[in-house]
């Protein structure tokens, strides 16, 4: 579980995060949406400690995040663009990660490695991989350590439909295991149907954080996509 309290971050002129308050629980799949520059990535980076907030706190499993990096061992992160050392081989990368996390062989989740058939190209250096394959590597890496919390930044952006489907299945599976999953996208994607909750950000402000049922009720739309679209419309007309 995760709690965000009064989180504020300003980059020079831009108020990237403006007093965000939120509470995520295990078993939730949160779809973090908003237009470009709405603060999604900043929020994720704040959670991961890459961006240092000006004000406010983030609690992961009840403890505030600070300079102690150990909380990140509970988090699996799949970045938007994964780039790895050119001369490192895929197998090497996974070995290194295992090394860094001090995770025994038995504890790792190789499900995605198998599903994406990455084992067969373990000896390939990173620089020879296509963008899609690199995304697969990133995805496999995020699930590798069986973390309580998964943060996936635009996970299906570079993936082909088949791989996309595989990833979706995996997310479903993890959801069943009562994990907290945070997915960002700036467009409405097919992953949204996995979501239990939707968090909508605009210009650094959190417009709403509602569970799907409430959202459906309020908008009268059955399809999530349309429901969100309606909210967005309402919002822009208000603004």
């Amino acid at each position: 579980m995760m709690r965000i309290e009064n989180l504020k971050k300003r980059f020079k002129k831009l108020q990237a995060l403006d007093n965000i308050n939120a509470m995520f629980d295990n078993g939730q799949v949160i779809s973090l949406i908003g237009p470009n520059g709405s603060g999604k990535t900043t929020l994720i980076k704040s959670i991961l400690g890459m961006v240092k907030a000006d004000e406010g706190n983030i609690f992961v499993n009840g403890n505030p995040i600070n300079d102690d990096p150990s909380y990140r061992s509970r988090i699996g992160y799949m970045p938007q663009i994964g780039r790895y050392p050119d001369n490192m081989k895929i197998g090497h990368l996974f070995r290194m990660m295992k090394d860094i996390r001090k995770m025994p062989e038995a504890g790792v989740d190789t499900d995605m490695l198998i599903r994406f058939d990455l084992m067969s190209i373990f000896e390939k250096p990173m620089r020879t991989l296509s963008g899609g394959t690199r995304q697969k590597v990133s995805a496999a890496l995020a699930f590798y350590f069986n973390p309580d919390i998964l943060i996936l930044d635009e996970p299906t952006a570079g993936l082909d439909p088949v791989s996309s489907e595989i990833l979706k299945e995996k997310i479903m599976l993890e959801k069943m295991k009562n994990k907290l999953i945070l997915i960002t996208s700036h467009i409405l994607s097919d992953l949204d149907e996995l979501a239990t909750d939707v968090m909508y950000l605009q210009e650094g402000k959190m417009i709403f954080l509602k569970d799907i049922d409430t959202l459906r009720c309020e908008t009268g739309e059955d399809k999530l996509g349309k429901a969100i679209a309606r909210v967005m419309q309402r919002n822009t007309s208000l603004g």
Binding site: F11, K45, L48, G49, M50, V51, K52, D67, D68, P69, S70, Y71, R72, S73, I75, Y77, P79, I81, G82, R83, Y84, P85, D86, N87, M88, H92, M96, M97, D99, I100, R101, I151
Partner: protein
């Protein structure tokens, strides 16, 4: 602690640039020792390599490596690793690979052809300058926002330390030629690692001329155990201070 260093090092040692750098140094060193009839001349040319090329490559290579590793560093940041550890590991990887290039390219030929005090001073200076300028490059990189700016500032720093600084010293010495400046210039030399390394080697190579000007001041100073500790100490500061500053900036930085 430096598990990560091993992986960074492993990656860099396979990069074409580092291999090319090693081969370049090796070819030049062997070529100089083979072509020159007397070794003092070869050493003299190597001195220029150590004082000019080593800082330049250290600065540029480190800066480019830093920006190319940006996403990787981000990935590392999402792992349970502290920022200090990540940056120091990166530093370790880059510095070790540059030093191995230097030791294979220059160290090896020097040890074979001219294993003496001057040769050892040359190697010591080369290693120290590699460490110092890698450190300076990390500071420049974490401080500048994009790659172009980073490489630009690395080049400017090189230009400053290898040329402009000495130009300013020359200017100062001529402006205050009526005053005794020995100790002051000694102090000035400590403010530039290239100058410090140069004087350290000069004490082996040009001791006659140095004694002529300063009497025993420089020789007694640098030649004594205290002087060697002083030189090594200041060099160490040139390695440690920029690195610590880089770590400090990096810890507060938004990536």
């Amino acid at each position: 602690m430096f598990k990560l260093t091993r992986y960074v090092l492993y990656d860099i040692l396979r990069s074409k640039v580092v291999i090319a750098y090693t081969l370049f140094l090796f070819a030049v060193s062997i070529g100089l020792f083979q072509l020159e009839e007397n070794q003092s001349k070869a050493i003299l040319s190597l001195l220029n390599i150590v004082l000019i090329v080593v800082p330049l490559i250290s600065l540029i290579f480190t800066t480019i490596h830093y920006y190319n590793s940006y996403e990787f560093i981000e990935l590392m940041l999402s792992q349970p690793l502290s920022r200090t550890r990540i940056l120091l590991s990166e530093y370790g990887g880059v510095a070790l690979s540059l030093i191995s290039s230097f030791m294979i390219g220059v160290g090896f030929p020097v040890l074979i052809y001219t294993f003496d005090a001057t040769g050892l001073a040359l190697l010591f200076t080369g290693i120290a300058l590699t460490l110092a300028f890698t450190s300076i490059a990390f500071l420049a990189s974490v401080k500048s926002r994009d790659k172009a700016r980073g490489i630009g500032s690395a080049l400017l720093l090189w230009f400053y330390f290898s040329l402009i600084y000495d130009g300013l010293v020359l200017l100062i010495l001529f402006s205050f030629s009526d005053y005794p400046m020995e100790k002051f210039t000694l102090f000035l030399s400590a403010l530039n690692p290239i100058d410090l390394g140069r004087i350290f080697i000069m004490l082996k190579m040009d001791v006659g001329a140095l004694m002529g000007y300063t009497g025993a001041l420089y020789k007694d100073f640098f030649g004594s155990g205290a002087g060697i500790i002083f030189t090594a100490g200041i060099m160490l500061l040139w390695v440690v201070i920029p690195l610590l500053l880089a770590v400090r900036v990096f810890r507060k930085k938004d990536l």
